[in-house]
Amino acid sequence: MAAPTEDRRRISSRVSVLQVGAIIWFAALAICFWVLQVVQTDKYVEMANSNYQRTLSLRAPRGVLFDREGRVLVENRDSFTISIDRELTKDSAETIRTASALLGLDAEQVKQAVDRHVKSEPVYRPVVIVQDASLEQAVRVLSRQRELPELSVEQVPTRKYPADAMAAHLFGYVGQADEDQVKAEGLSQNAIVGKFGVEKVYNAVLMGQDGAKSVVVNSVGREIRELDKIPPTEGRRVQLTIDYDLQKAAEDGFRHAGFNGAALIMDPRTGEVLVHASTPSYDPNDFAAGVKSATWSALTTDKLRPLTNRVLQGRYSPGSTFKIVVATAAMEEGLVDSNFRVNCAGGANFYGRFYKCHLRGGHGSVDMRHAMEKSCNTYFYTLGNMLGVDRIYKWAEKLGLAGKTGIDLPNEQESLVPNTEWKLKRTGERWYPGETISVAIGQGQVSVTPAGLANMIATVANGGTRITPHVVKAIDQGNGWTPVPLKAVADRVAFRPDTLAALHDGLWMVVNAAGTGRRGRVDGRDVAGKTGTAQVISNEGRARARNSGRDLRDHGWFVFFAPKDNPQIAGVIFGEHNEHGYLGAPIARHVIETYFAKKEGKPLPVLGEKPSNEPPVDDPDSPPALPAVEVADARPLHSRTAAQ
């Protein structure tokens, strides 16, 4: 039974319509695929690649710091960093909530950290939320990787500094590059750079070159395999001039003595810094993986200012140590020789006022050597009066005490020694000769850094060559140690033999005869030195400020070198509020003993029991009550009255 022809015709024509329709549909599909796969391939290949390829930055370890004998001082350890990968984050707020709960963080802080990066950085770069995470935190994230693919744990090299915050101000610390550095040096937002100390000054050498790793990840962000890896290049190794044992000896010395302060000790022949210490200190390890805000605010609000590097940033009155400058100036200017004698009757009159010596009865007739030994004020008043302030300034500068030493560490303050021009510029007033008298014993407008005094005593020790202190000895540029060229000598004056002999003898007598530095004496080492007291406040002011709660006790200085002839070690011990310069001398002694013990291969000395504080009845360094004009000088300039 055949279908009626009418039906057949209708079916046939309608099927034809469907055939044409099918062909058109499939042609349309083919065209769509052609557009996607042939015309737009590149675009989609790139999108597919960014789907499954991740490029991770591999942080380069910073260069290792060695001491002068090749012992490791600062190295790197591995730490965990936890980051959020924004590409894998579905709901940012939810991720932040979950991550904070998982890691025990404050959600608000995490949110801020993430927000900081949102605009400035490409979305594929992970945002670090925890630096230096604990092992427990890392494990928590790893164990929930499947549910939280957007969290990742990475091992990064982190700075490791020696224990007990040793030489913290010398090493400085590292931290995340700030906006300016990121822009200026083209660093990445998470880059770690030196912020202070050697880490800052030698950052370019120490930083190394970050590497990169590109990996294949699946849809939940799990790493499947590695595609390509550019290993990071470790920063250059740097050898410091510091001697670990001496540094430790000095810091032990401060701890033993029980006061804060600073020490800068160097080789007076080269300017190589052997010890650079400043206490109280901070632990640079706290900064290595991002400083916590509580730690930071504790450090910045501490009244003892642990972040201040007292060696370079503290400025104090030099007190009696300044007499060395005056003595040098007087002899080198040819005004006097070492036999020049002054009769001290417990003080002397200058410009109508009486300037006291610390010894009420007077020292009698003293020559240069004995004046130095006894720290006779009258003798140096006289020399200062003969010199005038400008010649004192000239020699302070020649000895390296005025201005900056030029050490290769950041934020050095200038040491201030006044002169007539300076005063005129500063205050618009001329210099009164009476002011010179107090300058001659290191009072008045003289204000110096420990580094400046160390430089001065080194110049005196080596006979007149002003060297530049420096802390880096050699850098390994990848082909062995290359010594860092010494900076050109800043100034060279060969002292007259008489000057040199008188200075060295006088300073030797301070320590080895009837002087104030006897606690610095080391048998057979001919230590030479000079104590000094830096007045914190004028005697008048002290009475007024008695109840202010400020620590008004004086600071003490001890400058030294050894041995007297051909000195090998020279430096300064600054004791903050320790009242007596001679209390710093045992620290110097311990360092000197350690220095020579090492040199001769003997066992290193150990600090004994805490010495009984046997205060000498009379400290000759104690600042004399100077006549009114000088006392007024100790006050801030704006409150000064034109007294004369």
Binding site: M1, A2, A3, E6, D7, R10, I11, S12, R14, V15, S16, L18, Q19, A22, I23, W25, F26, L29, A30, C32, F33, W34, L36, Q37, V38, Q40, T41, K43, Y44, V45, M47, A48, N49, N51, Y52, K90, V216, V217, N218, S219, V220, I224
Partner: protein, 365 residues
């Protein structure tokens, strides 16, 4: 009932094309589910069994004269409706919907078999009509026949499969001579109903799929994700593809269900435009040969039956392939012959058995 000479009239070329598509699908399932650790997935072996059983079903559907089948089709219809009700009562719940009846080693998805059954019933209905053209009354009755299984399937819920029943109705009605005027009225009615449906009938997730399709980037991590990934998968395949198991999108699971809904995307990724054209060619060949069978059919019944079976197949193929390229909203529709799925494979092959049946018997009485 079976005559040897009929074998000479079997469309072997179409059988070859169908088999080729099954093998391509099998290869992609292997590629997508092979695991470094656990080796070849059990899914792969399940699919081999499905293909074998499917060809047995094809043979059975081929052997029995389609006229006898159509004659008894009301029993099949009743059986399938009963099964669909049974699913709603006893079905296995997976992924939030109740679609399967647990048969031990395999799960049966009755909705897949509803398509061919509906094609048979509607072919019989339109074929028995003595009038020259389909009237409005005929169409309403045919619509009611379609609506029963369709509504049952939407209750599972499985809107995707339910919708595939609609082309069966329209294709059969169209070839049966329904006036174009009625198609026009229906189209206008659908347009007018769309906003109402949007407001009342669609569930939130369905609305989301549609709005995401219009602007995928509004939800690049959520519903728009698959659509974007589908385009990336296809586009990154380029002209010649990334090679067998060389795809990154499917292999690293950026595109989900690469062995199922998105099998064509992964085929396009690994075999490129060349592979796409080959697969599209095979599908088109199968469709054109089937239409040819409808034209050659001995009687109206045969032509309507072929069109009914073919309509749901074509609709699913075109929709799935367009979806694979991110051109249509993502919907749980598999690609017949290639995607993983036992019931779908068996039902599809049985349907082609019917088409071959019609062609084979074009000369018999």
């Amino acid at each position: 009932m079976f005559e040897r000479r009929l074998y000479h009239h079997v469309d072997w070329a179409m059988v070859g094309a169908i088999l080729a598509l099954c093998l391509i699908g099998l290869m992609q399932i292997y590629s997508a589910t092979y695991n470094q650790q656990s080796g070849v997935s059990s899914i792969f072996y399940t699919q081999i069994w499905a293909i074998l059983i499917g060809f047995v079903a094809l043979l059975i559907a081929l052997t029995i004269d389609y006229r006898s089948l159509a004659d008894k089709s009301h029993f099949l219809y009743i059986a399938i409706v009963a099964l669909l009700i049974g699913v709603l009562v006893f079905g296995v719940v997976r992924g939030g919907s109740r679609r399967w009846i647990d048969l031990g080693p395999m799960n049966l998805q009755p909705s897949e078999f509803a398509k061919a059954t509906l094609a048979l019933v509607l072919a019989k209905f339109f074929g028995e009509s003595r009038r020259g053209a389909v009237t409005r009354g005929d169409f309403l009755i045919a619509g009611a026949i379609t609506a029963v299984p369709l509504l049952l399937i939407t209750q599972q819920p499985d809107l995707g499969t339910a919708v595939t029943l609609v082309p069966v109705l329209f294709a059969a009605a169209y070839v049966a001579g329904m006036p174009m005027r009625i198609f026009g009225i229906l189209a206008i009615a659908a347009l007018l109903a769309a906003p109402v449906a949007w407001k009342f009938a669609l569930k939130d997730y369905q609305k989301e799929r549609i709005s995401t399709f219009i602007n995928p980037s509004q939800d690049a991590r959520g519903a728009g994700y698959q659509q974007i990934q589908a385009r990336i998968t296809v586009g990154s395949g380029g002209p010649f593809g990334k090679g067998f198991q060389g795809g990154t999108q499917g292999q690293l699971r950026f595109l989900p269900v690469a062995h199922n809904d998105f099998i064509f995307s992964v085929w396009a990724e690994e075999r490129g435009f060349v592979g796409v054209v080959a697969a599209l060619g095979l599908y088109l060949f199968v469709i054109l040969r089937s239409l040819e069978a409808a034209r050659l059919a001995k009687d109206r019944l045969g032509a309507y039956l072929v069109l009914g079976v073919l309509a749901t197949f074509t609709f699913q193929v075109v929709y799935n392939i367009a979806m694979s390229a991110g051109l249509l909203p993502v919907k749980g529709l598999t690609l017949p012959l290639m995607s993983y799925g036992g019931s779908s494979m068996i039902a599809t092959l049985a349907g082609f058995g019917l088409i071959l049946n019609v062609r084979m018997r074009r000369f018999t009485n």
